[in-house]
């Protein structure tokens, strides 16, 4: 009967644990702050609270003697949080790079059914129709602000490992490209001259791939091209090389066709008019989207994969860390068994004991989480990497350890600490006083 009761008790404990964890993941920092304040008030103002505080004080002051065991919790959780935050920062950085690309007041037109520029072809007569469509903004001389663009992929060696031929995207752009993307600034050198075999390179590409310094010559499609400038855009165009559309088309024998047309709209609201005009035009079979929508979509798949990998690895590591924490805290409770039993013998109730063990574990977990987050932030924030994007070319991006990610890390750390602390805490409170006092 007693066994059955304790079994029921454990079952209840597990159910409570699940509920607490579910609530915990939903909490915002603000709510957690409020909860912490409530806890603090309880600790200071009530009798039970003050008892808890003193028991916790004893526990924490003896931490120094258990430094090896306690560091298992801290370092174990730091490892989990570090790996989790680093992997998620990679995904976020990649997504951010592509999501920053494009805006709501520029639109990109591709051949119908093309998922990316690489698969699309638009003929010359189609391009004129698109450029003259309603909703397209006009420049000072009345010409449409539109750029028909060509995107080809070339092999360039990576700086980090020259044996790897990376696919790098060359974008052949029209004269209006600079007006379409006002965020593109020339850092060094000058813009390319239309008609000449000249390229300007994005700063990300220059950083990752060899032979792209200003003044260098590049062999593309059997011809020599000169690098005349470097540009920065702060988005995925940083991974590209830009050249004159006509010259690129001639080199790659694309004739008068282009792959995409990017236009500036009169206003973001004009998008619907623009899209409706193109879709209903019987001469065309095209897909129209705002550039923001187009580039965001490009990041979806990979970001999802990275998130799944990060969370899977994080979960498996967290399970390991929980058991490490359980081990440490059980040991801590059993070494302090006599002390706890004495406290209970002189009138301390169960709640202060449970809460104090939990507080101690959570404190260690918090230190671990903060440590893991800090290390990841120091190493990886702004770390530049590149990978194969969905247009079959390299996208250069930076890891982004954001405050939200650090908060996620802390949330995981606290959850691990809670699960790892709750069982030992309950064991401490349930220990029969008489047996514990007799125990050596």
């Amino acid at each position: 009967m007693r066994k059955f009761k304790s079994f029921l008790g454990n079952l209840g404990l597990l159910a409570m644990l699940a509920i607490v964890l579910v609530i915990w993941v939903q909490l915002t920092p603000l709510l957690v702050g409020a909860l912490a304040l409530l806890l603090l008030l309880w600790l200071v103002l009530t009798r039970r609270g003050r008892q808890t505080l003193s028991v916790t004080g004893v526990g924490i002051s003896t931490l120094g003697q258990r430094i090896g065991a306690s560091s298992v919790i801290v370092i174990g959780i730091a490892g989990v949080v570090g790996v989790l935050v680093a992997v998620l920062a990679m995904g976020d950085g990649f997504a951010a790079t592509l999501q920053q690309t494009g805006s709501n007041d520029t639109a990109i037109v591709l051949r119908g059914g093309s998922s990316a520029e690489l698969n699309s072809v638009l003929e010359r007569d189609n391009i004129s129709v698109i450029e003259q469509a309603p909703g397209v903004a006009r420049g000072s001389k009345g010409e449409p602000v539109a750029s028909a663009e060509l995107s080809v992929v070339v092999n360039l060696p990576k700086k980090s490992d020259p044996s790897v031929d990376a696919n790098v995207q060359i974008r052949g752009v029209g004269e209006e490209a600079w007006a379409l993307r006002p965020n593109v600034r020339i850092l060094q050198g000058r813009r390319f001259t239309p008609g000449l075999r000249e390229l300007v390179v994005g700063q990300g590409a220059q950083h990752q791939f060899a032979g792209l310094e200003v003044g260098k010559q590049l062999r593309l499609a059997g011809q020599q091209w000169a690098v005349v400038g470097t540009f920065a855009s702060g988005d995925s165009h940083d991974s590209e090389l830009w050249g004159d559309m006509q010259t690129v088309a001639a080199a790659y024998r694309r004739g008068a066709s282009a792959q995409s047309v990017t236009v500036r709209l009169v206003s973001p609201q004009a998008f619907d008019t623009f899209k409706a005009a193109l879709v209903s035009d019987p001469r065309l079979k095209v897909d129209v989207s705002t550039t923001r929508e187009y580039f965001s979509k490009q990041s979806e798949n990979l970001t999802k994969v990275i998130r799944i990998v990060g969370i899977t690895v994080g979960t498996i590591m967290a399970i390991g860390a929980i058991f490490g924490a359980l081990n440490t805290m059980f040991a801590a409770v059993s070494t302090r068994a006599r002390e706890i039993a004495t406290l209970r013998a002189i009138g301390f109730r169960g709640v202060p004991v449970v809460v104090s063990v939990l507080l101690e574990t959570m404190l260690l977990a918090l230190i671990g989480g903060a440590l893991g987050g800090l290390i990841t932030w120091l190493i990886f924030n702004g770390y530049t990497a590149s990978t194969l994007g969905s247009s079959f070319s390299q996208v250069v991006f930076q890891f982004k350890v954001s405050p939200q990610l650090l908060w996620t890390g802390i949330q995981w750390a606290m959850a691990i600490g809670f699960v790892g602390g709750v069982f030992p805490a309950v064991r401490a409170a349930r220990l029969p006083v008489t047996t514990a006092l007799r125990e050596l």
């Binding site: 090896g68 065991a69 560091s71 298992v72 370092i75 174990g76 490892g79 570090g82 790996v83 059914g113 093309s114 998922s115 690489l118 698969n119 072809v121 080809v152 992929v153 070339v154 092999n155 980090s160 490992d161 790897v164 031929d165 990376a166 696919n167 593309l220 499609a221 059997g222 790659y252 024998r253 079979k285 994969v305 690895v313 498996i316 590591m317 399970i319 390991g320 860390a321 058991f323 490490g324 359980l326 081990n327 440490t328 059980f330 040991a331 990497a385 590149s386 990978t387 194969l388 079959f392 390299q394």
Partner: protein, 387 residues
């Protein structure tokens, strides 16, 4: 060996602690097994001997540039080349963009240069004599439940037909099987006739994405690849010829340094694991101080006490590690299935097992070292007196 039961008893002296430590070890090695499988999946075939006699010729400047048909006969003319096949990327998806199908438009002799692909003779005949016929890999067939005789509409993400329609209809005429040591992904190809593709496609004209050159003698690879590249030097379609393995590896390498990421994660995991088990072992030995002293009193030498403590920690690691790796071996196929073909994890292979067991023993020795030395140096009198 005769002390086995003694070590075992010591290990399970404190059941809760040993179990908790074991679970941590199991998860660490589970992770090791899975991540190692990911790593091997990405550098697939680099150690396999299959396909060492094949070179891949592709455009030197870019994978999206195609090569002229005339190159086939010129490559065949080079001494040491046994067979030249060609293929073009089709980029097929089935019903939904998520269902990506590795589909190539291939030359009639494509299957001949891949001896690891086995197709029943009558199915091969059916393939050769059909226009819209395709042969598919066993994994692909299983994934969508396709059978010989099925008509499959496949959308190309790149090539529309002459009438502008991007959905192509194919008839499955054969399902091949592959040898176990074939390169990763060979079991899920969708092979269609290049001729049909070339005739019906709107844009391409007698173009191939890459050539597969089968050599008479694998050791001639360097010379032949130089000779092939020399054919098109200074033309508008310069080529780059490399071994099939290098060609495959170049794609994985472009994704990023998977090996580095995996090792970084494993480093973090094992560092934590060492700390955790070292802590357990220290506790275990400290608790048993008096027992160890008794052992020494009744005549166990210091060295055998040292060996017993070391054996205990190695046993702990091996026990947990073997369970963890076995779990990983069980889970890998499930994950592959769950990812819908996106990630094709091989099950934990011999090399992974060897490395895993090596790690178990090393970590076991490392974490056991300090407590074992302490046990060895125990002074009987002090220990028995509890000093």
């Amino acid at each position: 060996m005769k002390y086995l039961h003694l070590i075992w008893a010591a290990l399970f002296r404190r059941k809760t602690r040993t179990m908790l430590t074991l679970v941590s070890i199991v998860t660490a090695f589970l992770l090791f097994g899975m991540l190692d499988a990911v790593r091997t999946a990405f550098d697939s075939g680099s150690k396999s001997l299959v396909g060492v006699d094949r070179l891949i010729t592709s455009s030197r400047y870019s994978i999206i540039q195609s090569l002229p048909q005339a190159l086939q006969s010129r490559i065949s003319g080079i001494a040491g080349v046994r067979d030249v096949a060609y293929a073009n990327w089709f980029g097929g998806i089935y019903q939904d963009p998520k269902n990506f199908v590795f589909s190539y438009a291939v030359s009639p002799n494509y299957l001949d240069v891949y001896p690891e692909i086995h197709l029943a003779p009558e199915q091969r005949k059916a393939f050769d004599s059909s226009r819209t016929g395709v042969v598919i890999g066993p994994t692909l067939a299983q994934k969508y439940g396709w059978k010989v005789g099925d008509k499959i509409p496949l959308q190309s993400t790149i090539f529309p037909q002459k009438n502008g329609d991007k959905t192509w209809a194919f008839d499955i005429v054969g399902i091949y099987s592959v040898d176990d040591d074939a390169a990763n992904g060979m079991d899920q190809l969708f092979l269609l006739h290049w001729k049909y593709f070339d005739e019906a496609s709107l844009y391409t004209r007698h173009e191939m994405g890459w050539y597969i050159d089968r050599l008479q003698d694998a050791s001639q690879g360097d010379r032949v690849s130089k000779a092939i590249d020399a054919l098109s030097e200074n033309s508008d379609h310069e080529t780059k010829t490399q071994t099939e393995q290098a060609f495959n590896a170049s794609f994985a390498k472009q994704l990023g340094d998977i090996g580095l990421i995996v090792s970084a994660i494993m480093g973090a995991v094992f560092f934590t694991l060492i700390l955790l088990t070292a802590n357990t072992m220290t506790q275990a030995v400290r608790e048993r101080t008096s027992e160890l002293a008794v052992l020494k009193t009744i005549g166990f030498s210091s060295n055998s006490v040292l060996a017993m403590v070391l054996a205990e920690s190695v046993m702990l690691l091996v026990l947990g590690g073997v369970i963890g790796l076995s779990l990983a071996a069980l889970l890998a196929p499930i994950v592959s299935k769950g990812s819908g073909g996106m990630l094709n994890l091989p099950t934990v292979g011999g090399a992974s097992w060897a490395m895993g067991v090596g790690l178990m023993v090393i970590i076991g020795l490392v974490v056991g070292a300090l407590p074992a030395i302490r046990a060895m140096r125990l002074n009987i009198v002090d220990a028995l007196a509890g000093r």
